[in-house]
């Protein structure tokens, strides 16, 4: 490992007592865990805001004739709902939030490679989100041209006013935020892994984040540049996308979909990673087909076939496992069912004869909502239930978690199954009103009831968080008998993450350490080798300065994972 700086003198650690607190700590932090939580909390707040917009639209569509919403308001709501969910929630929630928190822990690193760049990324994300939302407070309202902002509809002629400009500039900032986070994650994974943690011993979650980061580096600069060109067309008299000056509107679509196609997997792969962490832990088995998963994540550019193979990996992981139906596992199974339906209908839409009939109908709406809710909501909140004990050192209540799951699950299917039928009956998407007599009313009402069930399900989560906060049940360090390195350190992890590291001889070092007599695994684990625990020479400075890897054999203390007896389970 490269040595970049000398150890701090012993006296330097006295600075720990001067650590900033509360708001100052939040504003000045460079700790990946605080930044990861900031991303998570911000994105979940935006998810709730966007969800309320969705409910308002569903009320409008619940019956023929609508509920009094103006077409302009409806257009603003569906534009901002889509933009917030795709740009500000689904991506940042996993890639900025969970990846920021979990990846350094899984690779045994003290922090992200560039902590200040990491903090800068978050502030860009937050200010970009606020910029986009500010459109609602302008006299002409928020952007109303759809989340893709196609030219020429998004030009200054057809979409005048600051709302559209704020949308473009918000995307400009968040685009940079995503690129910086991608650079940071790749560098962390390439340079800060623990000794023995070869690339093909990394957890699949980390692998998927690496592939996602590469996709982001390819896709997001193009989107950011397209936004800048669009802004120049609107204000500086350029004609990149306007026919009148010799421009080409289709160029915008080329640029946008060069971003948009990888974006599908930028949104999906992190959540596939979460599922691949949850399933083996609650099936009491290693991942089935470990080496195939990163390969097929890379191959995901071919879309359906590799994803189908990953489904077999996931089913193979559960096959003959000792499945434990805790809340995270239920969310993971909910993901499998929802994503299967969304994926299969996607394959249907790829068939031109079906696409001709269902293009721009509610069939498409149901398809992509099932894909996105399965990933960002089922897998994403499954990840929250899975890692919450690690983040806060306390358990969430399993009963309330299951109530959340079942309400969400019923609401999910009740919302979207009628929309498939509506699409086949010919209901177009992006309409704010429809006449009676078409047989669409009852199906729309069912869909609206389902949407409110989805909204209500999150009340269980909020109550769960409150109960956990008021009456904590200590989680211990490894409440689920987890596999990867994050379950080896304390809950919550200390500054710079690790006081001790186990020997790393497979893709699940914590499990190996806690089960030394388990049979040898197919991926090169050698259980009897190196049983000694290794400790850190001295803790790294929290007020800046060099961070250190574990240096010398310690007292051979017990595994942190033994604390699972404190969980109250």
């Amino acid at each position: 490992m490269t040595v970049l700086a000398e150890r701090l003198p012993a006296g330097a650690h006295a600075e720990h007592h001067d650590e900033p607190t509360l708001i100052v700590k939040w504003l000045t932090t460079t700790d990946h865990k605080v930044i990861g939580l900031s991303y998570t909390i911000t994105s979940v707040i935006l998810f709730f805001l966007s969800g309320i917009m969705a409910l308002a639209m569903r009320v409008q569509l619940s019956s023929p004739g609508g509920a009094g919403m103006s077409p302009q308001t409806y257009n603003e709501l569906f534009t901002m709902h889509g933009a917030i969910m795709l740009y500000l929630f689904a991506g940042p929630f996993a890639f900025g939030g969970l990846a920021n928190y979990i990846v350094p822990l899984q690779v045994g690193a003290p922090d992200m490679a560039f902590p200040r760049l990491n903090a800068f990324s978050y502030w860009l994300y937050l200010s970009g989100s606020i910029t986009m939302l500010l459109g609602f407070f302008t006299s002409t309202g928020a952007a109303a041209f759809g989340w893709v902002a196609y030219a020429p509809l998004s030009s200054s002629v057809y979409s005048p006013g600051p709302g559209a400009d704020l949308f473009i500039m918000g995307l400009f900032l968040t685009g940079f935020s995503a690129v910086f986070t991608a650079v940071n994650l790749i560098t962390t994974i390439f340079y800060l892994r623990a000794p023995g943690l070869t690339m093909f011993r990394m957890p699949i979650f980390t692998w998927n984040m690496l592939v996602t980061a590469l996709l982001i580096l390819i896709a997001f600069p193009v989107l950011t540049a397209a936004m800048l060109l669009l802004f120049a067309d609107r204000h500086f008299g350029t004609h990149f996308f306007t026919v009148s000056g010799g421009g080409v509107p289709v160029l915008y679509q080329n640029l946008f979909w060069f971003f948009g196609h990888p974006e599908v997997y930028i949104l999906a792969l992190p959540y596939f990673g979460i599922i691949t962490e949850i399933l083996p832990v609650f099936s009491r088995k290693p991942v089935f087909g470990y080496k195939g998963l990163p390969f097929f994540s890379l191959l995901s550019l071919l879309i359906a076939v590799p994803t189908g193979i990953k489904f077999f990996n996931w089913i193979g992981t559960m096959w003959r496992g000792q499945i434990s139906y805790k809340t995270p596992m239920l969310f993971a199974i909910g993901f499998l069912l929802g994503f299967l339906m969304g994926g299969l209908t996607g394959v249907m839409l790829a068939s031109p004869p079906i696409d001709f009939a269902t293009h721009d109908t509610y069939f498409v709406v149901a398809h992509f909502h099932q894909v996105l809710l399965a990933t960002a909501v089922f897998a994403g909140f499954g990840g929250i239930y899975f890692w919450y004990p690690k983040m806060f050192g306390r358990m969430l209540r399993d009963g309330l978690g299951k109530a959340h799951f079942w309400t969400l699950f019923v609401g999910f299917w009740l919302t979207y199954l009628p929309q498939y039928v509506l699409g086949l009956k010919g209901m177009p998407r992006r309409v704010f009103i429809y006449p009676s007599g078409l047989g669409w009313g009852a199906l729309n009402m069912a869909s609206t009831v389902g949407a409110f069930l989805i909204g209500a399900s999150f009340l269980f989560m909020l109550v769960n968080l409150f109960v956990s906060w008021r009456n904590p049940i200590p989680a211990g360090d490894n409440p689920w008998d987890g596999h990867a390195l994050e379950w080896f350190t304390s809950s919550p992890p200390p500054h710079h993450n690790f006081v001790k590291l186990p020997p790393i001889r497979s893709e699940r070092p914590t499990w190996d350490f806690n089960h030394p007599d388990a049979p040898v695994l197919p991926h090169g684990r050698h259980a009897k080798e190196q049983p000694a625990l290794v400790g850190v020479g001295s803790p790294a400075g929290t007020s800046g300065g060099p961070a250190q890897t574990p240096s010398a054999p310690a007292d051979g203390g017990t595994a942190p994972g033994d604390g699972s007896g404190e969980t109250g389970h």
């Binding site: 040595v3 650590e19 932090t29 937050l126 200010s127 400009f172 290794v534 060099p546 890897t549």
Partner: protein
């Protein structure tokens, strides 16, 4: 390091094949240019890593039999806290708002950006101890 190099070069090869096919079938310039950019994104760092991987011993994290003490020591300076990312972020926030609401916002924007740039540099020169 070789696995990392192969990964990046693999990305480059994938997009090179895609780019040739895309150009052959579409003769469309913007998409081809972007695919060339994706090839460079893989080939530039990938070949650098590959070049280095032949000139250095495998790092402890590259070896399956490495022990934890082999990676011992200081691995880098990690600043514990810094206000400058926030200041720089707010500077850019004001900069984009200036593009929408009025150029007067450029004054606080550039003030914050320059202050943050100086602050970042001073922190770095002090070795990361804030």
């Amino acid at each position: 390091m070789r696995t990392e190099a192969r990964l990046l070069i693999g990305v480059a090869i994938f997009f090179a094949i895609t780019g040739v096919g895309y150009w052959f079938w579409s003769s469309e310039q913007s998409g081809t240019a972007m695919l060339v950019g994706a090839v460079l994104l893989g080939i530039v760092p990938g070949s650098y890593y590959l070049w280095w991987s032949h000139r250095m011993k495998p790092r402890p994290e590259d070896r399956a039999d490495a022990t934890v003490p082999e990676g011992a020591g200081v691995i880098g300076a990690f600043p514990g806290s810094s206000i400058w990312p926030f200041v720089m972020g707010m500077g850019l926030f004001a900069l984009v708002l200036a593009a929408v609401f009025g150029l007067w916002l450029l004054a606080p924007a550039f003030a914050a950006i320059f202050a943050a740039a100086i602050g970042y540099t001073r922190e770095s020169r002090r070795g990361g101890t804030v």
